[in-house]
C-alpha cells in the first residue's frame, strides 16, 4: 500500500518550499533528507539531547519530535540560516572564540537554542547562561566553554547594536 502524501509549504531560512511528504515524516528527516539541510543533527530521536533543535517561528523546538506536516505554513530557521551570508552570527563566532565545540555534532542544537534565548534575554548572568543551555546534551566539552560562549555572544551582540 502506498502511503498518502500531503503537500506542505513552509519557509526555511527565508526560502519558501512546497513539497509532498508522508504524514509520519519527522521535521528533522524532512529538513535533512528532503531539503538537504544536513546541518540539523539527530542525536536521540526521543527529544532529550537537543541536537536537532531548530527555530519554529523563532521558538526552539525538537525537530525529531515534530511531524513535517504539522508545520505547514510556518517558518523554520536551521543552523544554516544563522549566518548572514559569509558573516557568522555572534553565537557562531563566540563558539569558535571560546572553543565551545569539539566534534560539532550537538553544536547546531546549541546554536539555535542560544540564538533564541539571547533574543529573549540579551544580558544574561552566568546562571542565566547555564539555564539557557540546560536542555541540551554535549558529550565532548563538559559545557564550561559553552557557557562562556553564551556570555561572549551576548557581548558581541551588544557591541554590534
Amino acid at each position: 500500500m502506498t502511503e498518502t502524501r500531503h503537500e506542505i509549504a513552509l519557509t526555511v531560512n527565508g526560502i519558501r518550499h512546497r513539497r509532498p511528504t508522508v504524514a509520519r515524516r519527522t521535521l528533522s528527516d524532512f529538513l535533512r533528507h528532503d531539503l538537504g539541510l544536513v546541518g540539523t543533527h539527530v542525536g536521540c530521536e526521543h527529544g532529550v539531547c537537543g541536537a536537532c533543535t531548530v527555530l519554529l517561528d523563532g521558538e526552539p523546538v525538537r525537530s525529531c519530535l515534530i511531524f513535517a506536516v504539522s508545520v505547514d505554513g510556518r517558518s523554520v530557521t536551521t543552523v544554516e540560516g544563522l549566518a548572514d551570508g559569509e558573516e557568522l552570527s555572534p553565537v557562531q563566532r563566540a563558539f569558535g572564540e571560546c572553543h565551545a565545540l569539539q566534534c560539532g555534532f550537538c553544536t547546531p542544537g546549541f546554536l539555535t537554542t542560544i540564538t533564541a534565548a539571547l533574543a529573549d534575554d540579551p544580558d544574561p548572568t552566568r546562571a542565566d547562561a547555564v539555564d539557557m543551555i540546560a536542555g541540551n546534551l554535549c558529550r565532548c566539552t563538559g559545557y564550561h566553554n559553552i557557557v562562556d560562549a553564551v556570555l561572549r555572544a551576548a557581548e558581541l551582540i551588544r557591541e554590534r547594536s
Binding site: 535533512r32 546541518g39 569539539q102
Partner: protein
C-alpha cells in the same frame, strides 16, 4: 623571528564548517542521491537459540529490496568476526557473526538486515520478520558469570575467556613480613562512551571500476578498510574508507569491524546501489559496546610510614558476550593500577568473564579508571589505618624524578615492558595540594561542620601510558602555489587534528599556519595507520608529521640551494620563503621550489612560470631524477616508538553532601596534569574539561542497568543519566606541568583520556571524607549514599 604555532592557543580551522551546518557526518553523505537504507532485526532476548526466521511478510512490504540473514552470507563474511588483538591469556576468545548464526548472546545482536528505499520502510519490513526463539538462560553480572551455573558459550562452561597473572617480586613472602595488612573488595559498574553521533556506514559500489567506497563513523578508517577487503574478498586497493566528520568516539568507534561495516557494503555490491545505515540511539545502547564493569579484591601490606611493600590484586572483568577486542581493558587495569607509585612486590591476577550482555571494548580511559580506583582507595585506607594525611602516604610511595626511566617490571598492553619515560610526581603532588587548598581544608571542614554542613576532600593520582605504537605516518606535500597538503591516516572525532597537525607542520616547515591543510582518516590519501585511541594521536601522528615536514624541508633546502647557488647550511625558511640568512634578496618561494623539484614542469601556473628563472641547465650526463631522489616536494614518513610515553596527573575535589537528601555537590574540582609538550593549550584544556565531565558522569550518574533477564532497562537518554550542564561543577581549575617525553621529536605525551581517569577515585574519597562512610563501589547516586548513611547509623 617567525610566529611559533606549537604551544599557542590557535583557533580551530574545523569550527567554521561545523558552526554553519557545513560539517559532513556519515549520515549527511550523499543526501539527495537516493541511497537505500538498512534497518536491522535485533534479538530481544539475552540468550536464545534461533529456531526459524520467516521473512515472507516482510518481503511484501512496499519499497523493500532485500533481506539478509546468516544464510545469505558468503565466504569470509560468513565466518566469525575477527579477534583484533589475540593474547595467549585469552584462551577462550569468542566473537559474533555479522548476522547471528543460530544462537544470540545478548539483547541487540543483529539477526537480519532489511534494505529498503528508505529507513521508514526498512523498519516497517523489519517488524514483519518473525523469528522463533528457544530461550536459554541469561548470565548477567559478574556474580552470575563467576558462579557459572549457566554458561554464555556452550564450550566455555566456566565463562572464563581469559586468565592472566603478572608478578614482580615475592608477594607472599613480602606480605608475611610487613607490620600492617588490609584486605577489601571494590566494585565498578558498567558505563559506556555514548557519543552523540552513533555509528553509521554509507557504501557505494562502482561496477565499472569494481571498487568500493565506504564512509564510516569510525576511529580507524585504515583498519575498517582492511577488514572490509578481507571479509568481502576484494583487493585492498579496490576499497577506500573515509571517516568524514565524526560526532564523537570516546573509544566505542575504535572497535571494528562492526557487523554493519561488513553488511552495508555487501548489500551495496549485491544491489549495485548506494546503501546506508545510521544507528539509532536504542541500537547504540544495545548493540555497540560498554566498559568499566569489574569486581576487585585487594590485599596490601605496608610499613609504619604507609609504604606499600606488598600488593596483591585479584579482579574479575565483565567482557560481555564476545571478546573481539581481546583483553586490552583488563591488561590496562592490571598494569596502570600502579600509577605513580612503586610498591615493593606486586602480584595481579584477573579473569575476564562472559556475560550475556553487550560486548565490552575500550571507553575513554580503557581500564584505567578501575585500576586507579583500586590503588587510590588503597592509599586512602592505608592513611586511615595509620592515622596519616592521605597526601603524606602518597608522597611516601611516589617514584622520584631521578628514577626515570622507571621500569615497573610488568608487560604493558602493547606487549612491551612497562617503563615510564619521564615525570615529576612529587612536584605534581605539591601543585595539586596548592591548587585545591589541601593544607587549609581541615579547618574549613571543621568550621562547616559546626554549621551542620558536610564537606569532604579527595585526591586521586594516575599515570597513563599514551601513544602506543606500532606506528603512525604522515604525508606532507608543498604544492606549486606554496600551500601545504598534509595527510595522516588516523581519524578525528573532535580533537581538532586539522588544527594541531597544521601547527606542527607550519613550525617545522616555516610556512604560515593558514597555508597548511590537513586531511585525516581518508585511505585515499594515506593507507597505513592505526587509529585514534589511547591518547595516541598527538604523540604518534604529531611525531610523524614533524618527521615528514622535516624531510620536506630538507628537500626544499636542497632544491633552493641549487637554484640560489648557495649552501644549504646558509638557508632558512620563513613565511614560506627560502632565503639566504641575512640576504633576503637571494630567495625563492617554497612553491617555486616545488616546481623545481619536478623535472617535468609544464608551466601550468604562475609559480611554474616564475620558477623557470631559477631553472639551471641540466647535466646531460646525469639522469634528471638522481638516484635516491623522487620528483615532487613531498615526503612520507613514519614514527614508530620503542614503547609508550607516560602522561600523568593528579585530581582533587571538594564535595558537599546534603545532610538530608545525600545529594552530592562538587564545590571545587582541580586538575594538575602532565602531557609533555602542549601543542595547543586551548584544545588540551577542552580535552581535560570533557574528560572530567565524563569522569563525573561515571562517578555519580551513569550506569547500565541490566535486569536478571539481560534486558537493558535504561537504554535511552531519558534513563541513562548523561549530565547536562547543571550536573557539572561550575569550573575546573587546571594546572599544567610539562615534562617532555624523551621518546619522540616533540616531547609530546598525549592528553585525550587524562581527564576521565581518576575521577571516580577522587569523588569516592571526598564523599568518604565528608560522611565517614566507606565508599567501595561506583557510581554513587544520592539514593545509594542515603542508604549507605542510613545503614551506617543503624550499625
Amino acid at each position: 623571528m617567525a610566529t611559533r604555532y606549537v604551544g599557542a592557543p590557535i583557533r580551530r580551522v574545523e569550527d567554521r564548517r561545523l558552526v554553519t551546518g557545513n560539517g559532513r557526518y556519515t549520515d549527511d553523505i550523499g543526501v539527495g542521491t537516493a541511497a537505500l537504507e538498512a534497518a536491522f532485526v535485533r534479538s530481544p532476548h539475552a540468550h536464545a537459540r534461533i529456531r526459524d526466521i520467516d521473512v515472507t511478510g516482510a518481503l511484501d512490504v512496499e519499497g523493500v529490496l532485500a533481506i539478509y540473514t546468516y544464510e545469505d552470507l558468503e565466504g569470509a563474511a560468513a565466518e566469525p568476526l575477527p579477534i583484533l588483538i589475540p593474547h595467549p591469556a585469552l584462551h577462550a576468545g569468542r566473537t559474533a557473526y555479522a548476522l547471528a548464526n543460530g544462537v544470540v548472546h545478548h539483547v541487540g545482536e543483529a539477526i537480519a538486515m532489511v534494505v529498503a528505499e528508505n529507513r521508514y520502510l526498512a523498519e516497517d519490513a523489519a517488524t514483519q520478520i518473525v523469528v522463533e526463539y528457544e530461550i536459554l538462560p541469561a548470565v548477567v553480572g559478574l556474580d552470575a558469570a563467576r558462579a557459572a551455573v549457566h554458561s554464555v558459550h556452550d564450550d566455555v562452561p566456566d565463562n572464563v575467556a581469559a586468565h592472566l597473572v603478572q608478578q614482580v617480586g615475592d608477594v607472599d613472602r613480602a606480605m608475611r613480613d610487613v607490620p600492617h595488612t588490609l584486605e577489601f573488595d571494590l566494585q565498578i559498574s558498567r558505563s559506556c562512551s555514548m557519543p552523540l553521533e552513533g555509528k553509521a556506514v554509507h557504501a557505494r559500489w562502482d561496477p565499472d571500476d569494481r571498487s568500493l567506497r565506504v564512509y564510516s563513523s569510525t576511529q580507524t578508517a585504515t583498519s575498517v578498510r582492511a577488514a572490509i577487503a578481507a571479509k568481502l574478498g576484494l583487493p585492498l586497493p579496490k576499497v577506500e574508507v573515509i571517516a568524514p566528520d565524526v560526532g564523537g568516539g570516546f573509544g566505542v568507534k575504535i572497535m571494528h569491524p562492526w557487523p554493519e561495516e561488513i553488511l552495508v557494503p555487501m548489500a551495496a555490491i549485491r544491489l549495485q546501489r548506494p546503501v546506508k545505515w545510521t544507528e539509532d540511539r536504542r541500537e547504540h545502547f544495545i548493540s555497540s559496546s560498554h566498559e568499566r564493569g569489574q569486581q576487585q579484591h585487594i590485599s596490601v601490606g605496608f610499613d609504619d610510614d604507609g609504604r606499600i611493600l606488598a600488593l596483591d590484586v585479584t579482579f574479575w572483568h565483565d567482557n560481555g558476550a564476545y571478546t573481539p577486542y581481546g583483553i586490552i581493558c583488563p591488561i590496562v587495569t592490571s598494569t596502570q593500577l600502579l600509577g605513580p607509585y612503586k610498591p615493593g612486590a606486586y602480584r595481579v591476577e584477573f579473569r575476564s568473564l562472559y556475560t550475556t550482555t553487550v560486548i565490552v571494548t575500550p571507553y575513554r580511559g580503557a581500564g584505567r579508571p578501575q585500576g586507579v580506583f583500586a590503588m587510590e582507595r588503597t592509599m586512602d585506607r592505608i592513611a586511615q589505618t595509620l592515622g596519616l594525611d592521605r597526601t603524606v602516604v602518597r608522597a611516601t610511595n611516589l617514584i622520584q624524578p631521578d628514577e626515570f626511566p622507571y621500569d615497573q617490571g610488568l608487560i604493558f598492553q602493547d606487549g612491551r615492558p612497562l617503563i615510564y619515560d619521564s615525570g615529576d610526581y612529587p612536584a605534581q603532588l605539591e601543585m595539586i595540594k596548592e591548587l585545591v587548598g589541601w593544607d587549609g581544608f581541615a579547618a574549613h571542614q571543621a568550621a562547616a561542620a559546626a554549621q551542620g554542613r558536610l564537606l569532604g576532600i579527595g585526591i586521586g593520582c594516575y599515570v597513563e601510558g599514551t601513544g602506543p605504537g606500532p606506528y603512525e605516518g604522515a604525508h606532507v606535500q608543498v604544492l606549486t602555489d606554496g600551500s601545504v597538503e598534509v595527510a595522516i591516516g588516523l581519524t578525528s572525532q573532535g580533537q581538532g587534528h586539522q588544527t594541531v597537525f597544521a601547527q606542527i607542520v607550519a613550525d617545522e616547515l616555516g610556512v604560515p599556519f593558514e597555508r597548511v591543510r590537513v586531511t585525516t582518516g581518508d585511505t585515499r590519501r594515506f593507507g597505513y595507520a592505526v587509529g585514534t585511541f589511547a591518547s595516541r594521536a598527538a604523540v604518534m601522528s604529531g611525531s610523524a608529521v614533524a618527521l615528514a615536514a622535516r624531510a620536506v624541508k630538507a628537500k626544499a633546502l636542497k632544491v633552493a640551494a641549487d637554484a640560489l647557488e648557495a649552501s644549504e647550511a646558509d638557508l632558512e625558511i620563513v613565511d614560506g620563503v627560502v632565503a639566504v640568512r641575512g640576504n633576503p634578496t637571494a630567495s625563492i618561494e617554497l612553491g617555486q621550489a616545488a616546481v623545481l623539484s619536478n623535472p617535468l614542469r609544464y608551466a601550468f601556473d604562475e609559480a611554474a612560470k616564475a620558477a623557470t628563472q631559477f631553472a639551471r641547465p641540466a647535466d646531460p650526463d646525469r639522469p634528471p631524477v638522481p638516484e635516491g631522489a623522487a620528483p615532487g616536494l613531498e615526503s612520507r614518513d613514519y614514527y614508530s616508538p620503542p614503547r609508550c610515553t607516560f602522561a600523568s596527573g593528579m585530581h582533587a575535589a571538594i564535595v558537599e553532601i546534603d545532610p538530608d537528601t545525600s545529594e552530592i555537590t562538587i564545590e571545587k574540582y582541580c586538575v594538575v596534569h602532565d602531557c609533555g609538550t602542549l601543542i595547543n593549550p586551548m584544545i588540551v584544556r577542552g580535552q581535560v574539561h570533557g574528560g572530567v565531565a565524563q569522569g563525573i558522569a561515571g562517578a555519580l550518574y551513569e550506569t547500565l542497568d541490566y535486569d536478571e533477564d539481560g534486558q537493558l532497562r535504561n537504554a535511552s537518554f531519558m534513563d541513562f543519566l548523561m549530565p547536562y550542564v547543571t550536573e557539572l561543577p561550575a569550573r575546573i581549575e587546571l594546572g599544567h606541568q610539562q615534562t617532555p617525553s624523551p621518546l619522540n621529536p616533540l616531547g609530546i605525551k598525549g592528553a585525550g583520556e587524562a581527564g576521565v581517569i581518576p575521577v571516580s577515585a577522587v569523588i569516592a574519597a571526598a564523599v568518604e571524607d565528608a560522611t565517614g562512610i566507606r565508599i567501595d563501589r561506583m557510581p554513587l547516586s544520592p539514593s545509594d549514599l542515603f542508604h549507605l548513611r542510613r545503614e551506617g547509623e543503624t550499625k
